[in-house]
Amino acid sequence: MKTENQKAWFFVLPVLLLVAFNALIPMMTVVNYSVQETFGDNMFFWEGLTWFENLLRSERFHASLGRQFLFTGLILAIEIPLGIAIAMSMPRKGFWVPFCLVIMALPMLIPWNVVGAMWNIFTLPDIGLMGYFLNHVLGISYDMTQNVFAAWVTIIIMDVWHWTSLVVLLSYAGLVSIPEAYYQAAKIDGASNFAVFRFIQLPKMKNVLTIAVLLRFIDSFNIYTEPFVLTGGGPGNSTTLLSIDLVKIALGQFDLGPAAAMSLIYFAITLLVSWLFYTLMTKDDAR
């Protein structure tokens, strides 16, 4: 049982100061910009909620938000089941386990722009391994700089390559924590493989899967560098996800007001959806 002790605040103080410096000041700057108009020279004019109103009516924002939800939805629909399936097929012990874990963690430790550059090199139509194979061995015309569908397939495969391992590692951690006795009991009862999965493995993986879904949602919803390096948001605007659009407005066009308003709405959506996932996935625990 935890003891009540208000002095614990002193232990938290360094973290509080550091995060407050990094989070509160920039956040207030963003809030400040979001209600003003600037023409440079540090001249600001009060705009009220104009930027928010414009943004919520803007087709450009709707389009990039829609693409963002499509991207994140596809990522979750592919990576979560695939990650669970791979974790279940991995050996539980033995010489190969550390080997598998090291290789699987490797993509997550590569700088994000290198991931983009690597996939760019990999998918070049005539000189990349995947591009050459598709175009010249299988005879499928593939060029992600020209074809919208190919660009989408490529950014999805890239993210699957990059982050499925996170789901695998987490599910694997959940799986190895199941005592052998559970499986023996299931065997005596004559339970089918599916029943073992549904009533033993899945419930035991629930906590780690909650973390996996949350982290994959947050990170795929905030993704910027990899698709930016790989496709630059193109062809046209077809892979301009929310972050890419935001950086275009903020640093490219230097429209601080609209960019700030967009930032706040963006952050609010991320928080809201994370909270929804969290509440839905843990609501059974409360009972």
Binding site: K2, T3, N5, W9, V12, P14, V15, L16, L18, V19, F21, N22, A23, T29, V30, A85, S89, P91, P98, C100, L101, V102, M104, A105, L106, M108, L109, I110, P111, W112, N113, V114, I121, I127, L129, M130, W161, S165, L169, L170, A173, V176, S177, N207, V208, I211, L214, I218, F221, N222, Y224, V229, L242, A250, L256, S263, Y266, F267, T270, Y278
Partner: protein, 265 residues
């Protein structure tokens, strides 16, 4: 059993293919790369690597990245340790709200903070220093470190603390000589994740630096656009960015999975 290993092996091959291609390309001269398709380097060359190790703008990129990543890991773990101890041992006014607020910072898109960070760190005179990037990355690393460490500390029985006080240990002495060693694995995992997220981040690193503290990732993006299409050089630089990560994973391989599994959500 056979069918199971096929899934794992296929997945590992899928992970290794793009990495193989990057490494293979780094050993090819530019003519060969642009000339056509070859599965293995035909004219094996180390010229790309030679450029990186002899040109200061290249190798300083690596040194800069390693400096700020190390600084960030040290700062994040150092401030997260006492905070995680407070969350795992005590109840205090607003503890739950504070914990949740910390975690929400993990959810902020870096793109949102790029411009305000630039202004903030310019205003305090830290722009283009390693410290600026290290401090900026604590925004998402400190919450994560607190979360992971709190999970590990929760697994240490409270009797350990009480016995130490009865034995006459002062708090700082108990914390540094008994408590921290007992959660060594947790400190390792937290440091690993701090290293990882600081090493792979580019947007803030690029925004907060110009010359003196420029990360390798930013040097790469600049080369990609300015020097035309030097794919071999880019591939060699990319290959070298994989190595520090690979070394770090090797050391924590037995704890990676556990690290997340023990955190509370």
């Amino acid at each position: 059993m056979q069918k199971r290993s096929i899934v794992t092996i296929t997945y590992i091959l899928f992970l290794l293919l793009p990495i193989y291609w990057l490494v293979a390309m780094s050993f090819k001269p530019t003519n060969e790369i642009l000339g056509g398709f070859s599965l293995f380097p035909q004219t094996f060359t180390l010229a790309n690597y030679k450029v990186i190790f002899t040109d200061p703008t290249w190798y300083w990129g690596y040194i800069n990245s390693i400096i700020y990543v190390t600084l960030n890991t040290l700062i994040s773990v150092a401030v997260a340790l006492p905070a995680a101890y407070a969350f795992s041992r005590y109840r205090f006014l607003g503890d739950k709200q504070l914990f949740f607020w910390l975690l929400t910072n993990r959810m902020a898109p870096a793109a949102v903070f790029a411009l305000p960070f630039f202004q903030l760190y310019s205003a305090v005179g830290l722009f283009d220093t390693h410290l600026a990037v290290a401090l900026a990355h604590t925004l998402f690393n400190v919450p994560l470190a607190v979360w992971i460490l709190e999970g590990f500390m929760g697994g240490v029985p409270k009797e350990l603390d009480e016995t130490a006080y009865v034995d006459g240990y002062s708090f700082p002495r108990f914390f540094t000589t008994i408590f921290i060693p007992s959660i060594k694995a947790g400190v390792g995992v937290a440091a690993f994740f701090c290293f990882m997220f600081s090493w792979v981040e580019l947007l803030l690193g690029k925004t907060l630096t110009a010359v003196a503290a420029k990360p390798i990732a930013a040097t790469m993006t600049k080369t990609a656009s300015s020097a035309g299409y030097e794919l071999g050089l880019l591939a060699a630089a990319g290959t070298l960015t994989i190595i520090p990560g690979a070394i770090v994973i090797y050391f924590v391989r037995n704890y990676i999975a556990k690290g997340f599994a023990m955190g509370r959500v």
